[in-house]
């Protein structure tokens, strides 16, 4: 292949020598959105399956984190915008081809739904909670009546949100590392894993903790499978995608990716969870925090490495 050896003369600040478009705000948002999606999807799923009483923490308590995650994530997104005062333009348009438009509308649905879900369970945390106004009590009664429908909406939109955090990146043909459809399912699995880890930390019920350790194990297995699959896809693809994969296979992101994401974020927590299920006593906080950390690092590394990968010309 004939490669251009020396290229000079570009002076697009913030573009050359490689992109500096997206920073910690986007990585953080992708992580927070993914984790919130994981928490809400798990809560909705167990509620729909009628297991609310078996998994009280997952259905009633953990979802209280989600609105905070979503609001902080939205703030990060807002900080990232360069033309902040025009943000409302997102909601005067529906662009089916733009994942960012999908994401904006998904957040528009899931954020209020997450607040309503918390409102329905607030008495589990604050037993003396008083809504003060009658219409708020009426509203609570209304949503309680249609709680199952609400759970379905929450489940569907949580899954869309989880996938979208990956699809957002994979829509960019110009960045070979991002341009793989594996990112959607990978980020969804990673978000679900972080959500399960949050329940693992909060739950005091040993049965529930065991169940979530098992769920986390399965999700870590899926993530590892998807990561292997992603690299197989890259290495069997075009030169630019092979070079994108090289960033993680000897290139500048090799150490951070394999140590922080795969070893610390997946293999060690999986090992600890297997030991825990095998009757060894291990503080659950350790694997759970490692999983959440790994999920965060996955977003940071993929967002930054993707901006280094490019077409050759």
């Amino acid at each position: 292949m004939e490669e251009e050896l020396i290229v000079s003369g570009r002076m697009n600040q913030m573009i050359d020598p490689h992109l500096h478009i997206w920073h910690w705000q986007i990585s953080l948002y992708l992580f927070l959105g993914g984790m919130a999606a994981g928490i809400l999807a798990i809560a909705a799923l167990y509620f729909i399956r009628g297991r609310e009483n078996d998994y009280k923490t997952a259905v009633r308590i953990t979802p209280f984190i989600a609105p905070f995650l979503l609001v902080i994530g939205l703030l990060a997104l807002f900080i990232d915008l360069r033309h902040k005062l025009f943000f409302w333009q997102l909601y005067t348009n529906i662009k089916l081809q733009s994942p960012m438009s999908w994401g904006a509308w998904t957040l528009m649905v899931i954020t209020p739904v997450s607040f309503v879900w918390c409102a329905l369970h607030i008495k589990d945390i604050f037993p003396n909670w008083d809504w003060k106004y009658k219409w708020l009590y009426d509203l609570e009664a209304f949503f309680n009546k249609y709680k199952k429908a609400l759970a379905w909406v929450m489940l569907i939109y949580a899954i869309i949100l989880g996938i979208y955090t990956g699809i957002l990146l994979s829509a960019f043909n110009a960045r070979p590392l991002w341009n793989t459809s594996i990112l959607g399912p990978l980020f969804l699995a990673s978000g679900l894993s972080a959500g399960a880890a949050a329940t693992l930390v909060l739950s005091k019920d040993s049965k529930e903790r065991k169940q979530f350790a098992r769920i986390d194990l399965v999700l870590i297995g899926i993530e590892l499978f998807l990561i292997i699959h992603m690299f197989m896809g890259f290495l069997a693809s075009t030169q630019v995608q092979i070079e994108a994969a090289q960033l993680f296979l000897g290139g500048q992101y090799t150490m951070s990716f394999w140590i922080f994401v795969v070893i610390l974020g997946m293999l060690i927590p999986a090992l600890l969870e297997i030991m825990e299920l095998g009757k060894f006593h291990i503080p659950v906080v350790i694997p759970a925090v490692l999983v959440i950390f790994g999920s965060l690092m996955l977003r940071f590394i993929i967002v930054y490495a993707g901006q280094v990968s490019r077409w050759l010309y």
Binding site: E2, S8, T92
Partner: protein
């Protein structure tokens, strides 16, 4: 109507006059550029050859920036020119991330900006500023659908290439080789 530009890489001397003309014409903020000169060295020593190219937005037919834009600020107008409506742009950077040519930059005023083929000039029958000013006359501009336009004639006569055709964007900036 399909506006296109052809750049003669054999006539270009890399003087950057096109860049300066563009910056003056379009009030491009200091440190950024809508067009630029690339010097490329190819080959294996001692068989090296250098190419000079005046590059800008490729005004793609299948424009990924337009597809990714969540608000519709990036759009294609008659003649195939890709434009950004300033007060619809939220500066999210999706179009910049999606452009394989890295042709867009974030304007300090917030919106994302890029080459417009000097649409304000061509509407008045003038050529883009870069074309008008080029001292070696190595830039050709016109309507590809008109067989007699400068750009159609030169593209018929000479061999040409586009940049990263494998990205599937169908670029309309041609380089005569």
């Amino acid at each position: 109507m399909r506006y296109a530009m052809a750049v003669d890489t054999r006539k270009c001397v890399g003087c950057s006059d096109c860049v300066v003309a563009c910056q003056t014409e379009n009030n491009v903020p200091i440190g950024f550029c809508r067009d630029w000169i690339v010097e490329v060295t190819n080959g294996t020593y001692p068989q090296l050859e250098m190419e000079l190219r005046s590059e800008r937005c490729n005004q793609c037919v299948n424009a990924p920036c337009v597809r990714c834009c969540p608000t519709g600020a990036s759009h294609i107008v008659d003649g195939g020119i890709v434009l950004v409506t300033h007060n619809e742009c939220i500066g999210c950077g999706a179009c910049m991330a999606s452009c394989p040519y890295d042709a867009r930059y974030p304007h300090p005023d917030g919106y994302v900006d890029k080459c417009t083929f000097c649409i304000h000039r061509i509407k008045n029958g003038l050529s883009p500023a870069c074309v008008a000013v080029c001292p070696t006359k190595c830039l050709y501009f016109g309507d590809l659908h008109d067989p007699n336009s400068e750009v159609s004639v030169v593209l018929k006569k000479r061999k040409s290439k586009t940049l990263i055709p494998e990205a599937g964007t169908d670029p309309q900036l041609y380089f005569l080789i």
